[in-house]
């Protein structure tokens, strides 16, 4: 016979004031220190384009840009974004004015259910910022932190390649 040990929990979690710029808009928030950036974006700011797919920062569905660099927002605390700029999928384009990377994912059928796609697009933006002319192999390696279960990556690789070309023009 075993009994699960009881874990005491603090009753009133501490709150911290932070200031974050998200997609060019400044937000002043009071958050629990343990609040994840992904949850802050989704639950507090209503930016639900950032998705959560795992609890081990393995899948990349929650990828956003922090000061222009891709991070998995489920592994970043909201307080770590204090004083910094975050870009989410909502910040790069709308359906009437797509970013070239979004356009390429559309044209190349680089998505199916779409759940991983927003993270995949954000990771790809960082990838082509670092390497404007990536080979197939470099794209595959560069997207190693993002999992897609629908596409087999074939069309994602083509999309990133096409987007890299389009951005260079």
């Amino acid at each position: 016979m075993q009994t699960k040990p009881s874990i005491s929990s603090s009753t009133a979690p501490a709150q911290t004031a932070i200031e974050v710029e998200v997609n060019g808009e400044k937000h002043a928030l009071t958050v629990e220190p343990r609040l994840l950036l992904a949850h802050m974006l989704r639950e507090r700011l209503g930016l639900t384009g950032t998705h959560i797919g795992c609890d081990t920062s393995s899948c990349g569905a929650c990828t956003v840009l922090l000061e222009g660099k891709s991070v998995k927002s489920c592994t970043v605390l909201a307080v770590q974004a204090d004083g910094r700029a975050v870009t989410t999928i909502e910040g790069i384009g709308t359906s009437r004015s797509l970013h070239p990377m979004q356009e390429a994912f559309w044209a190349e059928h680089g998505l199916q259910c779409g759940y991983c796609t927003t993270g995949m697009i954000m990771a790809s933006l960082d990838l082509i910022a670092r390497n404007p002319d990536p080979s197939d192999e470099q794209i595959r390696e560069g997207l190693g932190g993002n999992i897609c279960r629908c596409t087999g990556y074939h069309n994602i690789v083509r999309a990133v390649k096409a987007a890299a070309k389009a951005v260079k023009k």
């Binding site: 629990e32 639900t48 795992c54 899948c59 759940y115 087999g152």
Partner: protein
């Protein structure tokens, strides 16, 4: 503007703009005022009796609204999880939404904590104290078969069912054989891993006594029916919404404990209740796939002709039944003969309980296992008789002139031409050239392998008589007064792109601009009853229903037009997207114009009802049987045992293609999942029933770097099973690829005398086999 045909064209998906901009809404994206959050307390043991549950600590935690255990639901009359099955003799274990008295797998829900904040719900779930008495555990299906440790004591056995199917005279076939080959194939357990885990938002509207369940499901209507039964409510008081669904792969073709529990709790508390599964929970408590031990014995003539086949499938069903658990392995029996004319066959499927999560439908569901065992067997025959695997297939194929072909298992394959498709694939791959390159590589000490699989699969799930639940589907087409067209479909796509393919069909059939067509799905209050999306039935069944409804619309529109022109309806035709008088191009009317007249109502032929809409249901007369040939080339690094796929070519035949871009995408995704089963994916429980692959750090799903650019090709063999002539392609890639990859790896290892290794062919396993065979 000339009328362009949409069907067959590579049309960009209409669902994509919302998905690529993050504006689409999945279940977890919904939140209403007062939403509460559920956190489930789950069994840490593979098997244990529950002695006591103390929820007081959790209840006292600030922010906690309620805590429920299994008896709370049972006492309120909530029923357990349903299983749809048609097996005559089956041990069906009770399966309460929350365990009562005993837990039988790690991750089984025992209690649920409801709090006003998701973090608080998880904190408080830690405070539920449960006293367990550990019980002996069995996780291996062959050990379970022996029955020394029982999962359900009441049955006195771990065997849920035995299903034998036989035809011909197998004993005589084996007596007359030149060669008999025996092999055991392990088809390992897999996790479906949709990137969106399950999520449920249950809302109770007391004013209407209505319960709305927004959930990541593939089967909104079937789920509504089952929730009505479980909760004891009239079905029309329940609304199930499947908004954007982030992948299903069969796993969301189900009724889950959390859906029942959240629905009931929302009614108790009168507040919205949300559950969002963590990835770890997704590994323990979402259904798993495969998990069979298949013993095959084949009787063969020296020229490679198969005389007879014996097969025993031991299927690990897990601890309980989910919706289709016992049905899935029976499909393995039915499809075991594959593309081959095997007359004498003796099979048995034994379903066994173990202390693991239930197995159920996962991409291909029973057919990948069948294809794997027969395609590996064909290669064993080739090896044994020193024949080319291509030749062995050629000698055993069902011939092109014998379709429709009724197999020994009693299925009637609608149409096929296996040899022609194989020849096309061999040509595209330059098979003789590949073999030559292999011979040269071997001389140089390189381990190059070429693997082939030729498959036939069963999809387009229907007819109803052959299904655990119904097999038909529905479509309503509504031409609005302005000429816009609204389609309501019972199909519930989750990535397969039917919003586009269905719109393509409508655009062609009615001549309506594609921008004016909307496809509505996934909401039981908006859409009439339908069965949902699984088993490649979306277009083959739901699309066929749509075609029938469009036929009705067009016929009525032509009657309206004929009346305007004072012409006989027989003199009116539909051509180039318009209704016209035969031989008189000056008299032309669009569907929109006919629709407007239909709604104005005053210029209609006598007796014709106003409005222009139609609902039709399509009951398929048979399944459809897509087929194909896959060729895989691998190279193994002898120093590490790691396998690199050098080329992968798939030639598939799914009948008529509506959108080649979407079909290719379906194949790509299927290939990834099938290749991953061959090389690295596996769910592992230890002997205590602990799940060792409980996160994405331990469970190896393929990443971009593990795969390559695929080469696709296709043939088109029409079917007359449905009015669109389409088959289905969702599972084809998975089904064809697993044996092609394993055959390639074993072919590469042939110089070592290795004839078989069980999946997954991880580097360590391959390296060890090479070492044991004398090494390099």
């Amino acid at each position: 503007m000339a009328f362009t045909t949409m069907v067959g064209a590579r049309i960009r998906r209409r669902e994509d703009p919302r998905l690529i901009t993050g504006r689409a809404s999945y279940t977890d994206d919904f939140k209403t005022i007062g939403t509460l959050y559920a956190s489930f307390v789950r069994s840490p043991y593979g098997h244990a009796k529950i002695r006591a549950i103390d929820t007081s600590g959790a209840k006292d935690h600030p922010g906690v609204i309620a805590v429920y255990v299994g008896t709370d639901l049972a006492d309120a009359g909530v029923k357990g999880l349903p299983c749809a099955h048609k097996l005559p003799e089956l041990n069906v274990p009770p399966h309460p939404a929350l365990a009562i008295g005993e837990v039988r797998y790690v991750g089984e829900p025992v209690a649920v904590v409801i709090a006003d904040d998701p973090y608080v719900a998880r904190d408080a779930a830690e405070l539920v104290e449960i006293a367990y008495d550990e019980q002996p555990v069995v996780v291996d299906p062959l050990q379970a078969l022996e029955g020394k440790t029982l999962v359900h004591e009441a049955f006195g056995t771990n065997i849920a069912f035995r299903l034998p199917i036989a035809a011909g005279d197998t004993d005589a076939a084996f007596k007359s054989a030149d060669v008999v080959i025996k092999q055991r194939f392990i088809n390992q357990r897999l996790a479906p891993v949709p990137i969106e885990t399950r999520a449920v938002l249950a809302q109770w509207n007391p004013g209407e006594e209505g319960l709305t369940i927004t959930t990541s499901t593939q089967i909104p209507h079937l789920l509504r029916t089952q929730l009505a039964v479980a909760l004891g409510m009239p079905e029309n008081h329940i609304r199930v919404i499947a908004p954007e669904v982030g992948g299903g792969f069969g796993a969301k073709l189900n009724v889950y404990a959390e859906e029942i529990a959240c629905g009931w709790i929302a009614m108790q508390l009168g507040r919205p209740v949300k559950f969002t599964e963590t990835r770890s929970e997704c590994f323990t408590a979402m259904i798993h796939g495969r998990d069979q031990v298949d013993d095959v014995e084949v009787a063969v003539k020296n020229d490679g002709t198969i005389l007879g086949l014996r097969l025993r499938v031991v299927a690990n069903l897990g601890a309980y039944f989910q919706l289709l658990t016992p049905v899935i392995p029976t499909l393995t029996l039915l499809m075991a003969p594959g593309c081959y004319a095997i007359k004498n066959i003796s099979t048995e499927c034994i379903g066994v309980f173990t202390n693991t999560m239930s197995t159920d439908a996962y991409r291909g569901a029973g057919r990948p296992e069948a294809t794997y065992l027969i395609e590996r067997t064909l290669d064993l025959i080739a090896r044994k008789l020193n024949l080319d695997p291509v030749e062995v297939r050629r000698r055993n194929f069902i011939k092109a002139d014998s379709f429709p072909h009724t197999t020994a298992m009693g299925l009637t394959y609608d149409s096929g031409n296996y040899e022609a498709t194989m020849d096309q694939a061999l040509k595209a791959a330059d098979y003789p050239g590949l073999r030559k390159a292999q011979a040269e590589a071997r001389k140089a000490g390189r381990l190059l392998g070429i693997g082939l699989s030729t498959y036939v699969e069963v999809c387009g799930m229907g007819p109803s008589a052959a299904m655990p639940a119904a097999g038909w589907d529905s479509a309503t087409v509504r031409v609005e007064p302005t000429g816009a067209v609204t389609v309501l479909t019972g199909i519930s796509p989750h990535g397969q792109g039917e919003e586009t393919t269905f719109a393509q069909i409508v655009a062609d059939e009615l001549g309506v601009p594609i921008e004016q067509i909307i496809i509505v799905h996934g909401d039981t209050d908006r859409v009439q009853y339908g069965v949902g999306t699984f088993g490649s039935r979306g277009t083959a069944v739901g699309g066929a229903a749509l075609k029938l409804a469009l036929d009705v619309i067009r016929e009525k529109a032509m009657k309206i037009a004929a009346h305007q022109w004072e012409a006989s309806p027989d003199d009116v035709e539909y051509r180039d997207g318009k209704i016209m008088v035969k031989g008189d191009p000056s008299k032309a009317m669009t569907t929109a114009e006919a629709g407007f007249l239909a709604f104005m109502g005053d210029k209609l032929p006598p007796g014709l009802e106003p409005g222009l809409d139609a609902t039709r249901r399509f009951e398929p007369p048979n399944f459809v049987y897509p087929f194909g040939t896959h060729i895989c080339v691998v190279e193994i690094d002898p120093q590490t045992g790691s396998t690199k796929i050098v080329r992968y070519l798939a030639t598939d035949d799914c009948g008529k293609v509506i959108n080649p871009m979407i079909v290719a995408g379906q194949v790509h995704g299927g290939l990834a999942q099938g290749i991953a089963q061959a090389l690295f994916e596996e769910v592992v429980y230890d002997e205590d029933g602990q799940l060792l692959t409980g996160t994405l750090l331990d469970y190896a799903v393929p990443r971009a770097e593990h795969l390559l650019n695929f080469e696709l090709d296709h043939t088109v063999t029409p079917t007359d099973v449905n009015p669109l002539g389409v088959k289905g392609v969702g599972e084809a890639g998975t089904i064809g690829s697993t044996p092609a990859v394993v055959n390639a790896v074993i072919d590469a290892l042939a110089p070592f005398g290795i004839t078989h290794l069980d999946m997954p062919l991880k580097p360590e396993k391959v390296w060890t086999a090479i070492q044991q065979a004398g090494g390099l």
